[in-house]
């Protein structure tokens, strides 16, 4: 993966930057240039909360080549308080214990090692909150 592809997503993947339409309040992650609800092009950035509720999940057993050393791994969709949802791997737990509705925390993790130069890319994973 060309390093610029990783670098340009850093505000979202490292700092969880999302955007809120200043006119109608619709929230976007990742940010975009125009609001699809009201057409406004003005947004203010905000930082996503670090906790979310798991909506669904699966366990990937036949991954694409760049993830073959990680399989099987769990991946799911979680929803924040403000209604936004995101997808990420679910780490640090036995897959049998994952349940829809469980609370997860976003943690900064290595996602993949790509290409012959071994370019590392980082982002968030969901970690269950058992307590």
């Amino acid at each position: 993966m060309f390093p610029a592809r990783i670098w340009r997503e850093m505000p979202q993947r490292y700092r969880l930057e999302a955007a809120k339409c200043t006119k109608c309040g619709t929230r976007y992650y990742p940010p975009r240039l125009v609001c699809k609800e009201c057409g406004s092009r003005k947004f203010e950035n905000y930082t996503l909360p670090e906790e979310a509720i798991l909506q669904t999940f699966t366990v990937i057993r036949t991954p694409a080549s760049q993830f073959s050393d990680q399989a099987p791994y769990a991946i799911g969709i979680a929803k924040f308080d403000d209604g936004l949802q995101m997808m990420a791997q679910i780490a640090d737990c036995e897959v049998e214990k994952i349940k829809i509705g469980m609370k997860v925390r976003l943690e900064f993790r290595k996602i993949q090692v790509d290409g012959s130069h071994g370019v590392l890319s980082y982002s968030y994973k969901f970690v269950p909150k058992w307590y």
């Binding site: 592809r5 997503e9 990742p30 909506q55 669904t56 999940f57 699966t58 366990v59 990937i60 057993r61 036949t62 991954p63 694409a64 080549s65 760049q66 993830f67 073959s68 990680q70 791994y73 991946i75 799911g76 969709i77 949802q85 995101m86 997808m87 990420a88 791997q89 897959v95 829809i100 996602i111 993949q112 890319s121 982002s123």
Partner: protein
């Protein structure tokens, strides 16, 4: 707009076609369509193909196929909307004839998927999802549909046996289709006994990797009458899009793009879903057929799985779905799938479906629903016997 009819259909045996090249697979189906239509030329060509680039390293697909099917110098375009590329190819050809721009147009589709390894194919198919916010995290297409399946099954208390009824029926129908990749029946229990791909989806919940092509010839109803061909009119065409990322949708248990594309096609046709006699739907995964049949309005939300298990969508059911064997048994050469669906609908409406697959009662109206990605695009067409 001019009235448009399908006057020729071309298909070939789908499967792992090691001995056949990308260009020859397409040429075989295209020549069959030209022969079936009885025309000596076409004015223009559309080729649906998801990723010639990643599967065989070949782009510029319109030009190469126009040349290899013997139609020198005609306009030709490659259209892409992931797994809905075939449906989109059909829609583009329909619009070109309806508009008066061309009189005889071929809508084709092709994919050559077995020249790459399994994980190479997984990678190529995943390009239909959100690269930066889904695929980056390691999701695959079985994974996306598995997440829909889990959400759906929890919400509606769906059983494993109900889910298995979809591939079971697909293989039963596919066993009667000589062009299918897997023309054999399976047992209901085989589905849950198969290897797990992405929980809760087992291998037989998933459509396969397939080489294949299909082509159809479209012209005006006036020209079709002069050619004395069976006339199957295109009476509705609808397309819709949705967020490319599954997690950005309001719901994980219905498909908005299919709902809208279906409504648009029905409105254009002046029909209701109850007027449709058979449907080919995009059953890339067992859960997809269940949700699609609900989103098209055949069954209420949450009733699709039970309907499949109760046989309502079987060959002799209330509304036969995927008489061809569907993507599951017929195969899923992604760019060709949407055209393959039209081929089956035309066969059924002509009364020509092979090996006892023909549905009873002289069907008059058929629908084809083709879907890209996890539902970010959907194309629906309605055809009627003139």
């Amino acid at each position: 707009m001019r009235e448009v009819a399908v006057i020729g259909i071309g298909i070939m045996k789908w499967g792992e076609l090691w001995e056949k090249s990308f260009r020859n697979i397409f040429s075989e189906a295209a020549l069959n369509a030209i022969d079936d239509a009885g025309v000596d030329h076409i004015d223009s060509l559309y080729v649906g193909c998801m990723s010639g680039g990643l599967f065989v390293g070949q782009e510029h697909v319109g030009a190469i196929m126009a040349d290899y099917i013997g139609q020198k110098h005609i306009p030709a375009a490659h259209v892409e909307s992931a797994c809905a590329s075939g449906g989109l190819s059909f829609r583009q050809a329909y619009m070109e004839v309806a508009s008066g721009m061309s009189d005889i147009v071929m809508a084709g589709g092709v994919e050559k998927m077995t020249d790459v390894s399994g994980d190479g194919a997984t990678y190529a198919l995943a390009t239909a999802a959100d690269q930066d916010y889904e695929v980056f995290h390691g999701v695959t297409f079985p994974g996306l549909y598995a997440m829909m399946a889990r959400a759906y099954m929890k919400k509606y208390k769906t059983t494993r046996a109900q889910l298995s009824a979809v591939p079971y029926k697909a293989h039963l129908n596919g066993s009667k289709n000589p062009y299918a990749q897997y023309p054999f029946p399976i047992k209901l229990k085989d589905v849950e006994n198969g290897v797990m791909v992405a929980d809760p989806l087992h291998i037989l919940d998933c459509s396969p990797i397939t080489d294949g092509a299909a082509a159809v010839i479209l012209t005006t109803v006036d020209i079709a009458k002069k050619l004395k061909k069976p006339i199957i009119k295109i009476i509705g065409s609808g397309m819709a899009t949705d967020t490319i990322a599954l997690h950005q949708r309001e719901t994980l248990t219905s498909l908005k793009s299919t709902e809208l594309a279906g409504e648009r096609a029905l409105k254009m046709a002046g029909k209701k879903i109850d007027n449709v006699d058979l449907i080919e739907v995009h059953d890339c995964f067992s859960i997809a057929e269940i949700i699609v049949t609900e989103s098209l309005g055949l069954f209420k939300p949450g009733q699709g799985a039970k309907a499949a298990a109760d046989g309502l969508t079987a060959l002799d059911g209330k509304i036969p779905v995927n008489t061809s064997g569907g993507l599951k048994a017929k195969g899923h050469p992604v760019g060709a799938t949407g055209i393959g669906q039209v081929v089956e609908i035309v066969k059924q409406l002509r009364g020509e479906a092979e090996n006892g697959r023909q549905i009873k009662g002289n069907p008059k109206v058929g629908m084809a629903q083709n879907m890209g990605g996890s539902g970010a695009s959907a194309v629906v067409h309605i055809l009627e016997v003139a």
